[in-house]
């Protein structure tokens, strides 16, 4: 909960440095997603085209499709359409993590979890956005780094135990740098090069991982042939 407040506070303060103070509050209140908000807002401030922003944020949010599917399995079948539409709004990474610990979830339980997450998120943003005016300009330029540092804190922790995550990060970084350097691709707006690098690197190594795992399963299955010959004889 406290982590939630500090992340939204950071979002509020960073965004209020470049946009009107109420903008981050509105975004937080209508989106309720950490990574997507950060990326979308960053691209907006950088002047990216709306199509780029939409595409990049959508791709970052695609994981919610999976999360909604699996969360939906745990809800009572009787849950009304209206309630589903309402509750779906709050299916964030944190809410999902909490809710998935249970075997079955009632609508009211999920609503409670979502409500506390929502209040913390919007309040934190509001605090950050309004206090943003007090921050001196020297510190504000150092803050652009804060956003990148948060992305680092999101993607690098699993690297020690998940080599595929590491490979994806490495290859995505390589593609992204190449797309910036090689003159042929220099015309590509940053939003698209981000999407291309991200999707390509993820595709390559996630497919590789699944193929390796399938191969491993085949190798591990015992060879039953000698046993069967003995029985027949």
């Amino acid at each position: 909960m406290l982590g939630y407040l500090s992340v939204s506070f950071a979002y509020g303060i960073l965004t209020a440095a470049s946009l009107p103070w109420f903008v981050p509050i509105i975004i937080s209140a209508t989106n309720l997603t950490g990574t997507g908000q950060f990326v979308g807002t960053q691209l907006l401030i950088a002047g990216a085209a709306i199509a780029e922003i939409g595409l990049t944020v959508f791709i970052i949010n695609i994981r919610y499709i999976l999360m909604s599917i699996s969360l939906s399995q745990k809800m009572p079948k009787s849950l009304s359409l209206k309630k589903r539409l309402l509750l779906a709004f709050g299916n964030t990474d944190e809410v999902y993590a909490v809710a998935m610990r249970e075997n079955t979830i009632s609508g009211s339980y999920l609503f409670g979890v979502i409500l506390s997450a929502y209040l913390g998120w919007v309040l934190g943003t509001a605090l950050g956005a309004t206090l943003g005016d007090i921050v001196p300009p020297d510190l504000k330029s150092a803050m652009s780094v804060a956003l990148f540092a948060m992305y680092i804190a999101i993607i690098f922790p699993p690297v020690m135990s998940d080599s595929y995550a590491f490979l994806i990060i490495l290859s995505s970084a390589a593609f992204s740098i190449l797309l910036k350097i090689i003159p042929v691709f220099a015309f590509l707006p940053s939003g698209y090069s981000i999407t291309i690098s991200g999707v390509l690197s993820t595709l390559i190594f996630s497919v590789l991982k699944v193929k390796r795992q399938k191969k491993g399963a085949r190798v591990k299955a015992p060879n039953l042939k000698p046993l069967m010959n003995k029985r027949e004889g």
Binding site: N91, S197, S201
Partner: protein, 104 residues
């Protein structure tokens, strides 16, 4: 940046955040079991965020030195599993103080 662009962007963001959450929650009854799909979707944020960090991180500060210093600190703290805010504040502090040092 025009108020119109900001408004339209916010609406687009709402759409691309709410729809992936709402549509499957309402319509999909079966679990997706295909590992190609699940692993791809699971790893996508890693790819996209990495592309956002590199190379732009290194041109986001006044001098390359402060970028490299703060990046190293952020990397080490992240791998040691420190929280988002700790990593962010540390990176900001490193940039701030490195820039001051570079003035001498």
């Amino acid at each position: 940046m025009s108020p119109l662009k900001i408004t339209v962007t916010i609406i687009v963001m709402i759409a691309v955040t709410y729809l992936p959450r709402a549509l499957p929650f309402v319509f999909v009854k079966k679990e997706i079991k295909n590992p190609y799909v699940t692993e791809f979707l699971k790893y996508l944020p890693f790819g996209v965020l990495a592309a956002m960090i590199f190379p732009d991180y290194f041109s986001s500060t006044l001098h390359l030195e402060s970028a490299i210093m703060s990046f190293s600190v952020a990397l080490i703290l992240s791998i040691k599993k420190y929280g988002l805010t700790t990593v962010a504040l540390s990176a900001v502090a490193v940039v701030y103080f490195t820039e001051i040092l570079l003035l001498f």
